[in-house]
Amino acid sequence: MKLVLSWLKEFVDIDGSLEELAHAMTMIGLEVENIQLIGLAMPEGEHLEHQYSGLTWDKEKVVVAEVSEVMPHPNADRLVLCKLSDGQTEQVVLTGAPNLFDYKGKGPLAKPLKVAYAKEGTTLYDGHQPGKILTTLKRMKIRGVESSSMICSEKELGISDEHEGVIILDDDAPVGMPLVDYMGDAVIEVSILPNMVRDACMLGAAREIAAALNKPLRHPQPKLQGDGPKISGEVAIEITDPNLNPRFVFGMVRNATARPSPYWVQRRLRLAGMRPINSTVDATNYVMLEIGEPLHAFDYDVLKKRAGGKAPTIITRAAKKGEHLTTLDEAERTLDDFTILVTDTAGPLALAGVMGGLESEITDSTRTILLEGASWNFIHTRRTVSAQKLQSEAGYRFSRNIHPALAKLGVELCLSRIAEWSGGQIAMGLVDAYPKPHVDPLIEIAPEEIKHLIGISLTLQEVADLLTRLEFKCHIENAHVTVHCPPHRMDIGEGIIGKADLMEEITRLYGYDRIPSSRIADELPPQRANQQDDFERLVKNVLVSVGLQETINYRLTSPEEEARMFPEQSAKAAREYVELLNPISQDKRVLRTTLIPPMLANLEKNIRHAERLGFFEVGPVFLPEKNDALPREEYHLCIGLAGLHEKKHWDQKKNRGLDFFDLKGYMEVLLDALHVENAVFAPVEHFLFHPGKCSSMRCDEIEFGILGEVHPAVAEKYAFLENPVLIADINMELLLKSLPAVFRSEPVSAYPPVLEDLAMIVPEDMPSREVETVIRSAGGALLTDITLFDVFKGEQIGSGNKSLAYNLTFQSFDKTLTDKAVEKTRDRIIKALEDQIHATVRKK
């Protein structure tokens, strides 16, 4: 919302600097975004809290002047020479402004034209270049006529982009006065919070400023009273549903003539961001910007014609689904049943609160103006605005709830302005349909309540004084203040909600910055652990401790991106997705169902930036549920490895690519850190993985994950380098189930261990885990550790075989072991290996 400083000053005295004003506005909730100076000097000081832009008008060089005659240029048709006085000297000034051509060659003007005049050396914006390019006026000859000064357009003075003609000031402008003193201004742009639409107008903002500065507020008063024949009998109003349309007011002006508005009106409208149209339309917009009530003007004669020459009846109602109306932007609109319509007996006239219809719109030939002020259900208005994708000043305000009291005030003010600017007579009285008057809330609030919620101590009188500044009517009664909401507030609730709303008003005026900081004194809640969060943190910390980098990816993806992980020949599992209705782009239109594709993409993206990549991500995947509208959010851990086993180094002799066992090692370390003791790795087939290099991970029959080397057919679709890519995918919820509630430590033996090696030949496909199981169970308590240190395949041991060699550690907790004791155990292990798995054990 663009607030015009001079306009605000009509309602409240502002003495301080712009910077102080803007700070006060921000601190009361009208956050100032930027300030545009219209001729005023840039504030001084090093630390300006706001952004300023705009042009400063030199007091000496830019002044009010008058043109007494407009003469033709001897050598150019499109230029004229103006006889001009700036109060000190008379001179001839050259201009090409089309709006002066009408006066050309008419001799001395009966009524001189007041203009904004810039003398030689003035710096202002170049009117002939797009944008805001500064230029300084210099003496030069244009078509043989000397020129050093200028009659200015709004664009040149930085008021607006208007450059069609020069500014013609109102007649009362004093010649010779510095222009900045006559009409220097500032436009303060503020953001209006959704519950503060009451401040989307000059009066509303001025009210907040007056309250913040503790100054009185001046209310606008209609200047002219009705002097024409009464309005009653000329039009009837029929409100079908007071819930949709609580109030509807009509006023009338007869014999009005649309013409250009006074210059100061046009300037204010432009500064506030609206285009002047003509004096009648401008009056409606002016009043909207002034008090916040959007108004609508009908051509009464059109309505009367539609009613067959009789007095029209205006009916407000909900649209029928599929009903049509052509709005004044010439769009034919198909309506929904939530849209509210202003109609007459012949059909729809306007989209209530949003935009008028084309047919009944006022034109230059309109003589009798029927002026509507109304209030509309904000929810319905907002739905219409969004369904019709129709942004308008009226729609913006009505969709945020406007008080019905403003309908009448708006009409009264506007009638007066129309009569003032367009001429004509105001019809006596109004037609005012207000079937269900709005009841402004009445709230009781006590200082203790404020102390309890806000933490500040105020007296009853202080509470009343603060609220009175914002025009709440306050009565002190015993221990509380009874507060009556003023007839422009729609954001204050009833009862306890109203109390909370008032607390904000009181605190705002008291000053948020004066609230004393305190430490929470309330009792501490019962402490609860967050098992999921603790577990994730533990897992992440373990993975970080072994050198892996965490990644976080978009949860949004596309089915095509996820399908990259399927090998071509494999049947693509038909996946169900949580699909977005309004995706931002096609590649982010569903929620991911697996962490693997983003991990592969991360590895692919980075493989050229590092010789060794080790990534992990922990996060949810989103799995649609049959019997629930909401998907299951399943947390997974994905680990991805690619590249070389070791980072390159200057004395490195050899290096190999990362492989399955590197990844498995990370998993083992993780499981060890989590004290998951009985995890089982078992070969499994999965479309993503190399069929011989893939393992499931289970614990107590719960399969919690899978790991392996990415299938060459899948890897081929990514720009990986030659080394294999390894992926593990773990369901965090299932893994969490495998965690022991507690784990115990074991004592350390004081007696020396006996170390033995054991080598054997077994069939090649014998899983090493099986061998280990046999060794462990035969070894009993004395066998404390088994480490596989060699696996060998070769002709020497016969094809189809492999040799496994283990370090065995024997240790007792109560004595030093004798060779004999160890030998007994060792023999038992060998026998078990021979009997149970037919291993050929190499004897000592």
């Binding site: 601190m27 909730g29 919070l193 739905r383 607390m503 948020y512 609230i515 967050n530 949860r555």
Partner: protein, 347 residues
């Protein structure tokens, strides 16, 4: 007699010769050879010992004594030389082993949490010390929890505050804030007091640019109890900001609007980049909007299962990637989910 004198002279010559030879011994091998030559079985000293029995009895003791002296002396010198050689060898070895200490070391791989996680964990730690515990809730939410129960009815203008991703299932959306967790937590904990931090990924339908993402982490604080005040909110947030950005950081509180809080406020922090002078980071204002907050709206308390006549609460929320950006001078939020190792490894 002559014989005796001769042998003594011989012994002296032997000693002299051996000692002379020892001067040029500089290696263990040379020393071994010297030992063989001058102290070995067939060495001249040993020859003298062998000759002694054939000498006159009277001469024997003198000769024996002298021969022993020579042998002992040579052995002593052998020992000294041995030591000298060893010292020299060690010195030489050490010299040989000299490294170019300016060569790069072999660096073990250091793992890292994503910067977003690091910031979140730091926030958790600070808030945990202030009694706030982590409460997580789902990312795909119902309209009811994301909006309705938070006092944001359908079609209400307050909905304009959030650009929402809708799913194809009616009433199912991607949460626009972690606030639905407030309702979940209150339902779970009522009537106990609540003091929690709600973290997690939230989603906004936005055009992505250097400062806007469709997905970002947010944390919210929620405290509900019988005596929670706006002053408590301010004190808690100031403490939090000081812990995050340093004790000298200046903050201010100004009115704002959120449908689920009343009164509502926004907390600004003096720009840490320019110290309040005005720069690109703070758009020249000297202040950075850092978080939105307020007292929990009575309707929200009621929807959470708390009687607003008896309970009050505060809530505050902030985007944590923005915090990371401010603290580490990251100028483009799109870096966060791009997972470029060159970005990630800087943290």
């Amino acid at each position: 007699m002559e014989e005796k004198k001769d042998l003594i002279a011989v012994l002296q010559q032997i000693q002299q010769k051996a000692q002379d030879a020892l001067h040029s011994v500089n290696s263990a091998d040379d020393l071994e050879r010297w030992k063989f030559t001058y102290l070995g079985r067939s060495s001249e000293v040993m020859q003298v010992f062998k000759e002694i029995p054939s000498m006159e009895t009277a001469l024997r003791p003198v000769l024996g004594q002298k021969a022993n002296q020579v042998k002992t002396e040579l052995e002593k010198r052998l020992e000294l030389t041995h030591e000298r050689i060893q010292q020299a060898a060690l010195a030489n070895n050490i010299k040989q082993q000299k490294l170019d200490v300016t060569l790069p070391g072999r660096q073990p791989e250091r793992g890292r949490l994503h910067i977003a996680t690091q910031t979140l964990q730091e926030i958790y730690r600070i808030l945990a010390e202030m009694g706030f515990q982590v409460y997580r809730s789902r990312e795909v939410e119902s309209d009811e929890y994301n909006f309705e129960l938070l006092n944001i009815p359908a079609y209400h203008p307050a909905r304009d505050l959030w650009d929402t991703f809708y799913t194809k299932k009616e009433g199912v959306i991607l949460r626009t804030h972690t606030s639905p967790g407030q309702i979940h937590a209150m339902h779970e904990y009522a009537p106990d007091p609540v003091r929690i931090v709600l973290p997690g990924m939230v989603y906004r339908y936005e055009q992505m640019d250097a400062s806007h993402e469709i997905q970002f982490n947010q944390i919210e604080l929620l405290a509900v109890g019988r005596n929670i005040t706006f002053g408590d909110l301010r004190g808690t947030l100031e403490e939090f900001i000081r812990r995050m950005f340093g004790s000298g950081v200046e903050t201010r509180l100004r009115p704002s609007y959120f449908p689920f809080t009343e009164p509502s406020a926004e907390m600004d922090m003096k720009c840490i980049s320019c110290n309040g002078k005005g720069c690109g980071v703070c758009s020249g204002t000297g202040w950075l909007e850092i978080l939105g907050c307020g007292m929990v709206h009575p309707t929200v308390l009621k929807n959470g299962g708390y009687d607003p006549e008896k309970f009050s609460g505060f809530a505050a929320g902030l985007g944590t990637e923005r915090i990371s950006m401010l603290r580490h001078g990251v100028d483009d939020i799109r870096n966060f989910w791009a997972n470029d190792i060159r970005f990630l490894k800087q943290f």
